[in-house]
């Protein structure tokens, strides 16, 4: 089962070879397993076990969070953008629910300086 919601953001104008800051926000409750509901019963742990970002064929980022990551996990990382490609974010949580998010990164060709 694949579902999930994420937001990916990076600068508008990317030129080939640039190192780009990627900002990623995933919608997930990240229940720690220590919290209780209003009836006083413990809410079972449900956190992301892993999350990967793949740009084209290259896996560019992987994180293995624990209950120590805040709800709706937010990550910032850098990636060198060689060419236009799809950024695919995949993740899985304790309940076995997998998530996927895909977004196209457009990269302009580097212009050779005019002599």
């Amino acid at each position: 089962m694949t579902q999930g919601l994420a937001r990916l953001q990076w600068p508008h104008n990317i030129v080939a070879g640039d190192v780009v800051k990627v900002r990623l926000l995933v919608q997930h409750p990240m229940h720690t397993g220590y919290q209780q509901d209003m009836q006083g019963s413990v809410i079972a742990r449900n956190v992301l076990l892993w999350l990967t970002c793949t740009l084209g064929d290259q896996q560019v980022f992987r994180v293995e969070p624990s209950s120590g990551i805040a709800a709706n996990p937010y990550f910032e990382f850098f990636v060198r953008a060689p060419t236009s490609a799809d950024m695919v974010v995949r993740w899985q949580d304790d309940l076995g629910v997998a998530g996927e998010w895909q977004q196209r990164m457009f990269v302009a060709d580097r212009k050779t300086p005019v002599p």
């Binding site: 190192v19 780009v20 720690t32 220590y34 919290q35 209780q36 509901d37 209003m38 006083g40 740009l55 290259q58 560019v60 980022f61 992987r62 994180v63 293995e64 969070p65 624990s66 209950s67 120590g68 990551i69 805040a70 709800a71 996990p73 937010y74 990550f75 910032e76 990382f77 850098f78 990636v79 060198r80």
Partner: protein, 166 residues
């Protein structure tokens, strides 16, 4: 080990509130609650050596070249921005392969592990963490050569993430 019922489970929520507000010496009531929620003693914190062993192995480890940015005072432990920067050329031969965020007081020591590589361009990550009280945070970077480098930061947390019942 038999898990102990929390104080909140033994008493009702309203009883607990009444008890807590009625107690003139508030700390005597709160101390055992904190101790259970964090599963390590109220005043016990992991030492730097506790946090490093296991991850470092036999490799050399130095407090160098890593900067860990955390607010000195975090009002709310449920959401604390953290960023880690490592000095590295991020080339094929010499790059940061892993960054670990470790906590001296959270029930789970390893907050997160990040995998980077030469494709990253810059060895820098940011995230938002939960903290169970005032403590020391440690960012450990593992280089492609196997060498480990780390940085420490102190955070004062007014409201622990583990106390929240909502």
């Amino acid at each position: 080990m038999i898990p102990l019922p929390s104080v909140k489970q033994l008493l009702g929520r309203r009883d607990w509130l009444r008890l807590a507000s009625a107690a003139s010496a508030g700390l005597t009531v709160f101390t055992p609650v904190l101790g259970q929620a964090q599963q390590i003693g109220f005043d016990q914190q992991r030492t730097v050596a506790d946090m490093l062993t296991g991850l470092v192995g036999g490799n050399s480890v130095r407090e160098l070249g890593v900067s860990l940015t955390v607010p000195a005072l975090a009002d709310n432990g449920t959401l604390v921005p953290v960023s880690v920067q490592v000095v590295s050329p991020m080339s094929e031969q010499d790059h940061v392969s892993h960054i670990y965020l470790l906590s001296s007081r959270n029930p789970v020591m390893q907050v997160a592990a990040f995998v980077l590589g030469p494709w990253s361009g810059r060895a820098e990550i940011s995230t938002r963490v939960r903290l169970a009280g005032s403590q020391q945070l440690l960012a450990l970077a593992r280089l492609s050569s196997g060498e480990c480098r780390y940085a420490l930061a102190e955070v004062i947390v007014t409201e622990s993430a583990c106390m929240d019942a909502s």
